[in-house]
């Protein structure tokens, strides 16, 4: 068998695997939405169309996402311009701190906001006392609360994308503009901003999609306010399974529509330098008053951004039942952390999340690597399709995929590729795997593309077999890409909430579910301790990535 033939066969196998895991479950959802006990029917679609609550949830998803994009842009772009263009006191530290919300997994961020601005949160109590109010000054509920969390966690996309695009701006463009007599504003408007548009589009798309798929904030803070993700879960709890399918279809449809409308935007890639000259240097701010004012604003902002992290840390030391109405907890203990290790009930979720995420990540990396080596730079039929399938789960909200996988794997029909996995330990790794595919394949495919094909050829002329070339040349060179893909995927799976809430079993309950149940039992200390663990793991992964990015 020739190498080409072998490649075609492995490629076909990957294609079938992806169709089975990614496309098939979605198609089954579509079928279940228009298929009742008595055959094909549009009853459920009609039901969906006639219920005002459905329309309200869909509209809620849509406008929350749009406003999230606007808020995130309003915070992220000015910050990036400020830190990217001006040399501020402590600017280097600050520009790192500004990205901090990224290390909070969605559920953990929500948890921190609850401790800060919730009914008995630090800030709420502080304001209540200062103003001498009977009641908390606000209720952290509804659309406002969701938007607050979204703005806090998603401006980072705009910030990072804008920074990356700014640093790829050729300094001589700015100098050319200045030499042609363009003032600061005109340069910003006509040179800098147009250069940023594609990156801003990319950030807008990412924010919109993340916001549309957001589940933690609406689930915890939504109250009576429903968006489509929470609506789907509620409908399923009500037992209206077919209606949930139609809702799922509507959400997937909106997501794909958004993707199509915003196609052509791009995410900046720091490794692909489109710039020829040197990057723009920062403009020093000279006027002392301005300097001090800017620095004060910047550090105040940093404190606000850091507050959730510090709060989590503080609460994680609070013993059970000791903290009721005091503004600060009266007692502290390490017991919460010890329990995570020593108490089998507490340590179980930690171990679960660890192996679930590891298994899912390893499988996703394997598939992405195989697909990358097979398809990139080679004239293999279906390569584009494989790449598309790998990226598809990113376009579809997590809730949709959770429903799709729950649907596909709750029936025993081996001839149709369906097995009962729901309720077994295999369902969560499988769901995480599918959700991980876009992240891992994005990093790994980029890595494979960046490989110089003549290295492969050089190894061949030196008589190295395919296997030896892979082991000695390809894999060592791909290691950064593999690590990047794996670590990001691991973090996502480790803190996953949206998929887990629909598919977990008691034995495989992951950390996020234990946080939720600790919260329900008012055991805030343990919930926060889990949150800190998730936060630290994320931070470690990001630090690793930043170091690599800086070193290379």
């Amino acid at each position: 068998m020739t190498a080409d033939r072998r490649r075609q066969i492995v490629g076909a196998a990957i294609l079938v695997l992806l169709l089975w895991l990614v496309v098939y479950p979605l198609l089954l959802v579509l079928v279940e939405g228009i298929h009742g006990p008595n055959g094909w029917t549009l009853d459920f679609v009609r039901l969906f169309l006639h219920r005002p609550t459905e329309w309200r949830a869909l509209w809620g998803s849509l406008w929350i996402s749009l406003v999230s994009v606007v808020l995130a842009a309003l915070i992220g772009i000015p910050l990036a311009l400020l830190f990217g263009r001006y040399d501020l006191p402590g600017g280097r530290v600050l520009s790192g701190l500004v990205a901090l919300p990224a290390v909070l997994p969605p559920l953990v961020g929500v948890l921190a906001f609850l401790f800060l601005y919730g009914e008995s949160g630090f800030v709420s109590l502080l304001v209540q006392r200062m103003l001498g109010l009977e009641e908390p000054p606000w209720r952290l509920q509804g659309a406002g609360a969701i938007l607050l969390v979204h703005a806090y966690s998603m401006y980072v996309y705009f910030y990072l994308f804008t920074r990356a695009a700014l640093s790829s701006l050729d300094a001589s463009l700015l100098e050319a503009a200045a030499s042609l007599g363009a003032g600061r504003w005109r340069t910003l408007r006509q040179v800098v901003l147009p250069h940023l548009y594609p990156a801003l589009g990319g950030a807008a798309l990412l924010t919109f999609m993340t916001s549309l798929a957001s589940f933690s904030a609406p689930y915890i803070f939504g109250g009576g306010f429903r968006v489509m993700t929470t609506q789907i879960v509620a409908t399923r709890l009500n037992g209206e399974n077919e209606l949930a399918m139609v809702e799922t279809i509507s959400l997937a449809f909106v997501a794909l529509l958004a993707l199509w409308l915003l196609r052509g935007t791009r995410t900046p890639d720091s490794s692909a330098g489109g710039r020829k000259g040197s990057g723009p240097t920062r403009v020093p701010v000279r006027r002392p008053a301005v300097r001090i004012a800017l620095a004060a604003v910047a550090w105040g902002l940093a404190a606000f951004l850091l507050l959730p992290h510090l709060t989590l840390l503080l609460v994680s030391f609070v013993p059970l039942g000791t903290w009721t109405t005091e503004p600060l907890p009266p007692a502290y203990t390490l017991q919460n952390y010890l329990a995570l290790v020593t108490d089998p009930v507490r340590s179980r979720p930690l171990v679960n999340s660890l192996w679930l995420a590891s298994a899912a990540t390893a499988a996703a990396v394997g598939i992405a690597l195989l697909a990358g080596l097979l398809s990139v730079g080679r004239r293999v039929r279906g390569a584009r399709v494989v790449e598309g399938l790998l990226a598809l789960p990113w376009a579809v909200p997590g809730t949709v995929f959770a429903i799709a996988i729950a649907t596909a794997f709750s029936v025993r029909a081996p001839w149709a590729g369906r097995f009962i996995l729901v309720g077994t330990i295999w369902i969560l790794p499988l769901a995480y795997l599918v959700r991980n595919l876009p992240i891992t394949s994005r990093a790994i495919l980029a890595g494979v593309r960046a490989l110089d094909p003549s290295l492969d050829e050089a190894a061949a002329t030196l008589g190295a077999s395919r296997w030896r070339t892979l082991r000695r040349v390809t894999l060592p060179l791909l290691r950064p890409a593999l690590l990047a893909g794996a670590s990001l995927a691991f973090v996502t799976a480790f803190g996953d909430f949206v998929t887990s809430i629909m598919l977990y079993t008691y034995d495989t309950r992951p950390i996020s579910m234990e946080i939720l149940s600790s919260l329900r039992q008012s055991d805030v200390g343990v919930a926060a301790a889990y949150g800190v663990v998730l936060m630290l793991v994320s931070a470690a992964v990001f630090a690793l990535g930043a170091e690599r990015g800086g070193g290379g």
Binding site: E457, A459, A460, T461, L462, G463, A464, R468, L477
Partner: protein, 358 residues
């Protein structure tokens, strides 16, 4: 003639477009041939066919009588130096050089010894533990050579070996490579688009265009006896003129340029040309400037480029043809009316081709 390395009627198409067209070439053992041509001439594809990265649609590659056309690159035992060197960035110099030896099963002290010998060959003894990134461009190039030569391949392939070096380094490296390859005595095929490089490195130079081999010969042969107008125009400076051949003359042929008759010698080995329209290719040094007069083509000087003590003059004939003439730097000034005549006492420098041949 049977050579050590034989390319026998190689044809390669990509998506129906021909890249290499019935190319045959034979190299003696230890000979170095440069494939010279503009981009898109098929020289790189030919090299890749030799390395085994591409399989020809038809034709064969023979080494020492063995047909290797369908032998995988891994098993072909051809060494190759890539245009961008393709050194393994994560391995050090020693590991790079050892890579091909390990494929042959060389281990232990033998491996170290042969690796060291290869590095010594390129003047990099003791560089084993250096990282690739620490080396200059020239050193990287030599490591690439050492790596390719270490397993003692049957044939060495060089893909634009000097294109990544800066011009000052290029000339020196050219001498070094030539000297090294002759010392090793390995049969070598080199691809380049630089005439100087091809002429200095190649024992013979094969000129390619549009996938076809136009001419193969020593640098001197190519210059003094181009097989066709393309080779004549591609190698060295020249101008072309449409002329009509009137008939044989005692020592050559008589041609008419406009209303002027020249008697020119025909280079040796060219087939006799029949009377009628023809294409004349002229080297600048084969022409001379005179005052306008009988036997001289009337022209106007339009430009001058200084080359050392002499200059190349651009002239436009009254018929509108452009000619380049070598003359002392201050023979005339631009704008002057001149006559142009053939300068050569001995033949050469002027070539006639049947009209329509390219």
């Amino acid at each position: 003639m049977t050579g050590f390395l034989q390319l026998d009627g190689l044809v390669k198409r990509f998506d129906g477009v021909i890249a290499v067209d019935r190319l045959s070439l034979s190299l003696a053992r230890g000979e170095m041939v440069a494939l010279l041509g503009p981009s898109g001439s098929g020289k790189t594809t030919t090299l890749r066919l030799l390395a085994g990265f591409e399989t020809p649609d038809s034709g064969r590659v023979l080494v020492d009588g063995e047909d290797v056309t369908r032998v995988e690159p891994v098993a072909r035992r051809f060494g190759m130096v890539f245009q961008h060197y393709a050194l393994f960035p994560h391995l050090d110099v020693g590991e790079n050089v050892a890579f091909g030896l390990q494929s042959l099963g060389v281990r232990g002290p033998d491996l170290a010894e042969r690796g060291a010998r290869a590095l010594e060959l390129v003047d990099l003894a003791g560089y084993e533990r250096r990282r690739i990134g620490q080396l200059s461009g020239g050193q990287q190039q030599r490591v690439a050579l050492a790596r390719a030569l270490a397993p003692e391949p049957r044939v060495l392939l060089l893909d634009e070996p000097l294109s990544n070096l800066d011009p000052t380094l290029r000339e020196r490296t050219r001498h070094e490579i030539r000297e090294l390859i002759h010392r090793v005595g390995i049969t070598t095929v080199l691809v380049t688009h630089e005439q100087d490089e091809a002429f200095e490195l190649g024992d013979r130079v094969a000129v390619l265009q549009g996938g076809r081999l136009e001419q193969v010969g020593s640098p001197d042969e190519l210059y003094t006896a181009p097989a066709n107008p393309f080779v004549g125009g591609f190698i060295g400076r020249s101008s072309t003129l449409e002329v009509s051949v009137l008939g044989a003359a005692p020592r050559g042929v008589r041609v008419a340029i406009g209303g002027v008759e020249w008697e020119i010698e025909v280079g040796p080995g060219r087939p006799p040309i029949r009377p009628g329209p023809a294409m004349m290719l002229v080297r600048p040094e084969a022409l001379r400037l005179t005052p306008p007069g009988p036997g001289a083509v009337p022209a106007t000087i339009t430009g001058r480029r200084f080359v050392g003590p002499s200059a190349l003059f651009q002239a436009v004939t009254d018929q509108g043809a452009e000619l380049e003439v070598a003359a002392p730097a201050h023979a005339v000034e631009p704008g002057a009316r001149v006559g142009i005549m053939p300068s050569r006492r001995e033949g050469g420098g002027i070539h006639l081709f049947p009209a329509g041949e390219t």
